[in-house]
Symmetry: C2
Subunit: 367 residues, 2 copies
């Protein structure tokens, strides 16, 4: 998988004893942008000031970095730091975090598990990308330990979550804000790039608390994201999936924003699922249009995620509740071990790639 000049994701790194600043990943090194480009915007401890500059600046900066890396290696080498000498941080300051529910297969699976015998999809599902706000203060960078939450698991039942789960998702990071009252413009004018998301979920807390206002403590204890934000410009695009019924005018696609990204979910190093992003029903431009159609404003650093990515096949499901059918069909691991939900010490890693371009990984150990 390539970390070459066609990739160049942005992140925030620090060397021992120094303050975090913005870099770009190239091979197994980080290009120190503040020094390589002589631009103070990259001396910030987050991508936000750079992301706020907008699409033309994103494009020009990327082109400049590509030129420097390919034609100016003698100079650039001085600003490349080996990855094993740096620490990676949360790449941006998260403003609002919204999580959608855009996979037809995921929503159908959840409906079948929780409401067997009835129509799996809710009446609104094919009319709008269902979404809700999550907790932005507990969005953490890959590698952060995930403490098993405690809470109410049912009436009179309190204790540590017994159904700790993951959700493999793609997150979209907003660079250019909007004013209240004005829906967002073109997707590529606002969205800077993408990150991998693991939306850790406590299924027992969730099923007891979520009526009628939605998931709350079942999700708010931690959401992990990958340290590298892949620029939108780097991603190959494909047509979105057919939609029936035809969506409302504000949700009609203006361009192709389907994404051909292959994900892998590893549980303690073993691949347990390969969810395809191409199977998603609602596209990211539709998420953005929906999020702002009511006049809600965007801020630099807003993160909106796709919801669990699941494909139609059994091995393409993006959560343990689907992979094990709510714990009734355990996953077999090497050495005779099985899993329904996560045990303390389990490590989950989500990797992704798109046409030879890697999006890196988001990883976390529960305990």
């Amino acid at each position: 998988m390539s970390w070459g000049v066609d990739n160049l994701p942005y992140g925030v790194f620090s060397c021992p004893g120094q303050r975090p600043r913005v870099g770009v990943r190239y091979g197994d090194k980080v290009l120190d942008l503040a020094s390589a480009l002589h631009d103070e915007v990259f001396a910030a401890p987050s991508l936000n000031p750079f992301m706020a500059r907008g699409r033309a600046a994103w494009h020009d900066t990327r082109a400049l970095i590509q030129t420097k890396l390919t034609s100016d290696r003698f100079v650039t080498d001085r600003h490349l730091i080996p990855l094993d000498q740096v620490r990676l941080h949360l790449p941006f300051e998260v403003a609002d975090y919204v999580d959608f529910y855009c996979s037809l297969d995921h929503a159908s699976n959840i409906g079948k598990i929780f409401r067997p015998g009835s129509e799996p999809l809710q009446p609104n599902w094919r009319h709008l990308p269902v979404g809700y706000h999550g907790r932005s203060g507990t969005v953490v960078v890959s590698g952060t330990p995930i403490r098993r939450p405690q809470g109410q698991l049912g009436p009179g039942v309190f204790g540590p979550c017994q159904k700790l789960d993951i959700e493999a998702e793609l997150g979209f990071v907003v660079g250019v804000p909007t004013s209240m009252g004005s829906p967002a413009g073109a997707f590529e004018d606002h969205v800077f790039g993408v990150t991998l998301v693991n939306d850790w979920s406590a299924r027992d807390i969730q099923s007891w608390e979520y009526v009628p206002l939605g998931p709350f403590l079942a999700k708010s204890f931690a959401t992990s994201i990958s340290p590298w934000v892949t620029p939108l410009e780097a991603l190959p695009r494909i047509p979105g999936r057919a939609q029936d019924p035809e969506p409302a005018a504000y949700l009609r696609r203006q361009a192709d924003w389907g994404l051909d990204i292959e994900l892998e979910i590893l549980l303690n190093g073993e691949v347990v699922a390969r969810p395809p992003y191409s199977a998603m029903y609602w596209t990211p431009d539709q998420m953005l249009a929906h999020l702002t159609v009511n006049g809600a404003s965007l801020r630099t650093g807003d993160l909106f995620a796709s919801g669990t990515i699941s494909g139609p096949e059994q091995g393409q499901r993006g959560s343990l509740i689907e992979l094990t059918w709510n714990g009734t069909e355990p996953i077999k691991l090497p050495g005779g071990e099985t899993r329904t939900f996560l045990q303390d010490g389990d490590t989950v890693t989500i990797r992704a790639s798109a046409a030879g371009l890697t999006l890196g990984e988001v990883s976390g150990t529960a305990g």
Copy 2:
């Protein structure tokens, strides 16, 4: 209603051509704290840096201001600026915004309206303070115009919201953060003060979108708060309401955090309801304990609100959907006018007081 030395709420103000900074309201004036106390923390454009200092600093600062105002008037007068010469801003930078659902009467009314004939309260309601995350980027200060949202009002129906509503609430502002994995300590060690909240709501958007992940666009277009944050120390406390069944151990009250606050809702200047905060079922310390029991961290600037405040009487309901029973019983206004939900140009003002101490007001005009 008094804005005297027993009150002294904090806010952020600016004089023409100058940058916003922190002040305290005293009578019809604002005390410029950065100059009066020679402390740069008050030169910030938000209360956040001061709130982060913690409870001892909050107490000492309040005592110092009280001393200066009562014994040092000649000096202090130079730092008092008439309110009509300043502009008021959002008093703090909102980190995460959570909205609860703590009124038994409100939850019961909503249940009766939407599920007539069945048990009004959901099974979880008496076991935990139900809550969800809202959009912090659209929390605005009193006086900000409220644009009527557009959206999907049902399958195939798109247009401006026809059921624009209000929710009269009390908001609690977090000063002292916590780390991930550790539940919050004592309420008064974390919560700096209270603000009035109007959680504008699009009822037609809400009823179509909210299953299964909760309210989203129906609430995210705007949430108004009062410009003055009343310190917790200033508020008289009363015992909380009896609870049945006895709550889980983590929700058992360690101290009396019932609040005897009387609210008034004015529609175009006419009082249409007087919700009593004393009727609330879950107390603010229980909200905080619940919010963090799963290990979710707090940040300085977190705002959590009570949910609609409704009392048992018809004239004590805190939303139009309750006051007009979902539009079937219009409110009569002077001059023969009636209202079910808000019309363009309508102004809603929520005022509150506690034992002679005013909490000021939050106001907004829809259009």
